[in-house]
Symmetry: C2
Subunit: 231 residues, 2 copies
DNA sequence: CTTTATATCTCGGGA
DNA sequence: TCCCGAGGTATAAAG
């Protein structure tokens, strides 16, 4: 990995064209040929970049460029597409090379999968008498997060999201449409369950007869405690 | 901006919990308190990070941590949420500080907005006799990209995407449903226009009576040339 | 391999 | 401010 602090301008041409005027920035050249251009702010997204696999070529600029103050040119060409990033360096303020090795990678925990597991274990959260049929119930167009039955034994398809938005309601609608054509399942009702449900999603769901349930992640995790407190 | 190459382990707790085992990585501490942890591969996304606004506190570790080999601890606390990133540094291989200043920012060109503008200017691409009513036609659930009228004066709602996928068809369907309740507009037909339309999106659109149009970006840009070549 | 759903998404615009 | 849609989305999982 090479780290360079430089006054530079940057041009990208590919799925769009973009230009960064002359300023001081951090350039990161990674082992796989990818290059990141970072400023001293914003979030983790670089101002401009080239994704791997790519080839970085460092060259001495043409004479007209040198007269304009460019001392070094980085041309980063993507290996598969015709995306190209050109960094015109006017002044190098820092330059260092480092050996990092392969990273063991990130260990994550606790997202939608966890919510699904918790709700499956405590399916009565949806209402008394609810029973779990199965998680990841397969249909022709994909798996429904949870299939359950209500107290009257009717099938209930549950779609779970961390944040409930309109896409999720559309997704559940497609599942319901399909499942209701199956005489062994129909009539199937829908439940849209999320930690947070956006107003537009709620409106659309209600309009389509889909029930919305807001999940309390902490309560689900501590449901045994809650149960014991009930007595 | 501070750049550190270090052998370190990293823990994040916030919207999820995540852990990075001990390895050599690049740490970037930005002026706004944000911190990025990068490896020598992957793409522009860091292995782990803290978004601004945040506060970075560098401290000498507790004795049990020091015995485990930790020489320095970075605690990055988000200013508004309770997200927290902790970097346990075992060995510092490089450490430098740089003054970058404020970045003038990126100049972009050519995305969906550009396609919309081009199609609005050359609405006859959709068919002879088509006329533009307006771009960004407001409805209760959001703006329709283009409202036009066909050669018979019937309203046509156009949804434009760079890549036409299923959610774009859903979006247009919602608009059409709503607009067709308006007696001043009805009947409204739909056109799904994109540079590239995925087979599933095309199937769904066709099934719902929505016409698909593949846009040629270069042809739209050079439409005057094309016109002149016709004679 | 392509397609689909998710993301600590980020980022910008509009009400 | 919140909400919604777009992204050079990236990325992992599934068919």
């Amino acid at each position: 990995m090479r780290l360079v602090i430089a006054r530079c301008s940057v041009d990208y041409a590919g799925r769009l064209t973009a230009h960064l005027p002359l300023a001081t920035r951090l350039l990161i050249a990674k082992a796989d040929g990818s290059v990141l251009v970072h400023s001293d702010g914003g979030s983790y997204k670089p101002l401009n970049w080239m994704s791997p696999p790519a080839k970085l070529t460092v060259s001495v600029p043409e004479e007209d460029q040198r007269e304009a103050g460019v001392v070094e040119t980085w041309t980063v060409q993507h290996a598969k597409t015709d995306d190209r990033l050109v960094v015109s360096i006017h002044e190098v303020l820092h330059d260092s090379e480092h050996e990092l090795g392969v990273d063991p990678g990130l260990v994550k925990d606790g997202v939608e999968a966890h919510l699904q597991k918790l709700l499956a274990e405590h399916i009565a959260t949806l209402g008394e008498g609810y029973t779990l049929v199965r998680r990841e119930y397969m249909t022709a167009i994909g798996p429904v997060d949870i299939l359950a039955r209500d107290d009257a034994g009717r099938a209930v398809a549950v779609e779970i999201k961390r944040r409930g938005e309109i896409d999720g309601v559309e997704q559940l609608t497609r599942y319901l449409e399909l499942m209701n054509r199956d005489p062994l399942l129909a009539p199937v009702t829908g439940v849209f369950a999320a930690q947070e449900i956006k107003p537009q999603a709620r409106t659309l769901a209600t309009d389509r007869g889909i029930r919305c349930v807001v999940l309390d992640y902490d309560a689900l995790r501590g449901i045994d405690d809650v149960d014991s407190r009930l007595f």
